[in-house]
Symmetry: C3
Subunit: 139 residues, 3 copies
């Protein structure tokens, strides 16, 4: 059984952003030399997501707008969590809609993806250093 | 370590539908001859979901209605993504609520399920051929 | 390859509650003696969630209020599912937002967590005995 454990670091300059991390994950699959297995990719911070969807700018804009309608940032006083001095309660909610992690099959040494699948890091409370974990297990 | 990789193909005749794929996955667990491990089941398309819930018709109707209220199909012009010529932006949103994948434990050669757990394929932009990946790893 | 399969049992006294199960899962990781691998933690019931977020009381209150706004319990007659004699359709919906399961990497014999990650059991239809499955595979 083989394993690979790596961390990706992000410092997004805006509060919210979507970053396509597919190339980074593909590189780590090659580095792992694992031909058959599972690849876990998860946000290590609780105001960020890792999810799989389409690399299309309009759609990413739609996600941003939709998440803001489901869990608005303002007024920040509507959230109990923000009484701790934070203003990021909405980010914790948005992250639950988009998810913490993805698990991707590795087949013949590659991410076993459908035609349009791309892995994104979703940042909902940026402007500081945050990490994503990539863990690959298999043979 | 043993592996099994299989694809299920769906051609749903309506735009949206829920299909119970539990029997298909159970058959693949038997075929894999894996007694202890993990079973990943994921949609390979980004306008579809795989999720686990109750095989009860009324509930599936409730999901349909609820998802339409959270991410309405019409007016299609409300979404930037649809400017690409698509009309399925809502399907990309609905899929995030219901999820891309499930990971199920395999114990004693069987899906280690609670009493009511059933695996569903959720189609949000059907009428064409789409696939689900089943990847099982273990011993 | 090593495996551990364990069940946690919950009998929450209220309809809805969030229970921090991180200490239980950490104990099972030690018991498994697995140093590198994956840890699946999933609700075995379809009106409950397992998710990872912040152990902060205000935030848990915000989740409760937000989920009730996305998928209200009352009036119970708004849901087809409740015609079966149940009154828990909203719990099936809430569970989809928060998710069924988490998959956590194990590195050097520990849950490979970011600084604030904690695992929660989310109960949306309590007052009866329900279970969570912990399955660990690795070496």
């Amino acid at each position: 059984m083989k394993f690979l454990t790596e961390h990706l670091t992000f410092q997004v300059k805006t509060r919210r952003a979507f970053v396509n991390i597919t190339p980074d994950v593909k590189e780590l699959v090659i580095k792992s030399e694992i031909k058959e297995g599972l690849c876990l990719v998860n946000a290590m911070h609780i105001t960020a997501s890792v999810f799989i969807n389409d690399n299309e700018g309009g759609l990413l804009h739609d996600y941003e707008k939709w998440l803001e309608s489901l869990a608005p940032h303002a007024p920040t006083t509507q959230y109990e969590h923000n009484k701790t001095g934070e203003d990021n309660a909405d980010a914790h909610l948005k992250r639950q809609v988009m998810g913490r992690e993805v698990v991707v099959a590795i087949t013949n040494g590659k991410l076993d993806f459908g035609p349009w699948e791309e892995i994104f890091y979703g940042e909902f409370d940026g402007k500081r250093s945050k990490r994503v974990l990539v863990k690959i297990i298999g043979e």
